[in-house]
Symmetry: C2
Subunit: 328 residues, 2 copies
């Protein structure tokens, strides 16, 4: 029997993770008897789950909220709560408060619970912990020099998680997610938004704007793969991880041109033609500072799996988000 806490449960990853946990009914072979879901907005209702569900509106940085979240001693914590990179860059104080102080409040609440409490804690970090200039291939021992406040907050949280794990308060795993593609939902203003938009909009019969050249290379994993990473991380034993608990995740590294070629293969010429090329120098500049390709050796050895091709990523979007159909 296992009790799981998910922070940030109302976000895109949070909703997909809780749906998957509810559907599976088990984690690491143990029945899930209880799910505690928190977020700053009310997490959506879960269907088809026989265990207990509590869903709260909660800000981890508010007094006693982190203590409340862990009071019932959840066995596994998926800590997804955070503000996104654009918001962390625009509002410095909010970014540090939510992304750093929120993580620290949660870790301190766990530490102060005491009496042998040592949950598994899976933290969603990001490849934003890295900053240009990059070598041809980013290996597992490349240093962290983030170029955004968001990346800085993620890197600081990783270090804290690692120290608290070493001291035996939690069994932490930090998962550095690549860009999640195809992101469902409406287009947003994130500089990375077009990587999903150029697949999602054409499949929905809409035209998407491509603001960069087709030679831009980037690493992607599907939302389904991201959920898989989190669940796999929860099953890793402390001895498998050692002291280096923050891991680069695998992904599909390809150029924008290869993304579009995959779209043509999967959905046909007509769909792939729904692209308007409109170079945006600002987006080109931002994207130029991002990592292109990782050699995620440790994660792969530990059994983390992403897709093998971008075609698969498109098929997963059609299956999971479009009910198997698209606007041909």
């Amino acid at each position: 029997m296992t009790h799981i806490l998910v922070t940030g449960a109302a976000g895109m990853i949070g909703r997909k993770l809780t749906e998957r946990l509810a559907k599976d009914g088990t984690l690491n072979g143990r029945k899930i008897e209880r799910l505690t879901l928190t977020d700053v907005v009310k997490p959506p209702k879960l269907s088809g789950f026989s265990g207990a569900v509590e869903a709260w509106v909660s800000d981890l940085t508010a007094p006693r909220e982190a203590e409340r979240a862990v009071a019932a001693r959840p066995d596994v914590i998926f800590h997804l709560a955070g503000v996104v990179s654009g918001e962390a860059e625009l509002d410095l104080e909010k970014g540090y408060r939510v992304n750093l102080d929120g993580t620290r409040a949660l870790l301190d609440a766990v530490r102060k619970t005491g009496r042998g409490y040592c949950p598994k804690l899976i933290f969603t970090s990001s490849i934003a912990v890295f900053g240009a200039p990059f070598p041809d291939m980013i290996r597992d021992e490349f240093h962290l020099t983030p170029l955004t406040s968001y990346g800085t907050q993620k890197a600081m949280s990783e270090l804290l998680l690692s120290d608290y794990s070493r001291r035996g308060f939690v069994e932490g795993v930090g998962i550095r997610l690549p860009t999640i593609c195809v992101r469902p939902g409406k287009p947003n203003k994130a500089a990375s938004g077009f990587f999903s938009g150029i697949i999602r909009e054409p499949l929905a019969g809409e035209t998407a704007v491509l603001p960069v050249s087709e030679s831009v290379q980037h690493t992607h994993a599907s939302p389904r793969a991201a959920i898989g990473f989190l669940i796999h991380a929860a099953g890793l034993a402390r001895e498998q991880l050692g002291t280096r608990i923050n891991l680069n995740m695998p992904g599909v590294s390809c150029t924008v041109g290869e993304q579009l070629a995959a779209l043509k293969r999967v959905a046909g010429e007509k769909v792939a033609a729904r692209i308007r090329r409109e170079t945006d120098p600002l987006v080109e500049k931002i994207v130029g500072g991002w990592p292109e390709i990782f050699d995620a050796q440790r994660a792969i050895k530990l059994g983390f799996r992403a897709e093998d091709t971008f075609d698969e990523i498109i098929h997963i979007h059609i299956e999971d988000e479009l009910g198997g159909k698209f606007a041909a």
Copy 2:
């Protein structure tokens, strides 16, 4: 005309730095008109300095203390305040409060000063930001995986300093000091203490205990070199540093056997014989997790200079601490 703030001014590095600044009377070719010295104990009086000196007892994490320290808008800040690694390991809350929250309070006080205030801020970090296992040579792009709370707090502070520099609140430089050798003063309980003790005690006519094998390799810089790093860092232009402002410092990498051979060359057989070999498995284990050798290419290109040989390090100790004489 320049105004300098030194936090942690009563510590070993703090005292040597303020003495040097007082003696020089200038920094980067500008006359020092004012020195503000803070520490949790009263910083010692300075002699031979014609400018204004204020010395306060101050804890940067106490309300309004960081604001008070920067209220007069010092042009250059040497942020040395912190608790040492042994204390940070024994007292988790104190370590995070002083080493992380203290640095953050100082940076936030600078940020909130506003009206174009952007001081140069030199931060003493440590090679404790690294953790075993290590490659044969630690290069500038090796990742940070500290194995102590102290190293974690230093690494987190480096990241914060880097983000606040990128945002234009400070011109930060993080200086990762190697082991400072020969440390003056009494033997202490630090696991690294013997690296200094095996030189300092024999030169003072005392016997020193060597708790590890002579094959142990380590990187050292003299206190004089450390002060040189800090002063050199204060003279670097923002454009020279770019976005990667945290730097591995150079040093003399040698084995304990080479340290003792240097002692024999500099001070004679009789002095070098004042060593008692008494293996301490705990110290051997701790030291085994420390970095042995760095390729500090960036720092060297930027003009940072350490000693070339361990003989020089011993000569500097004899000159700076023993008035040129030792117990032959």
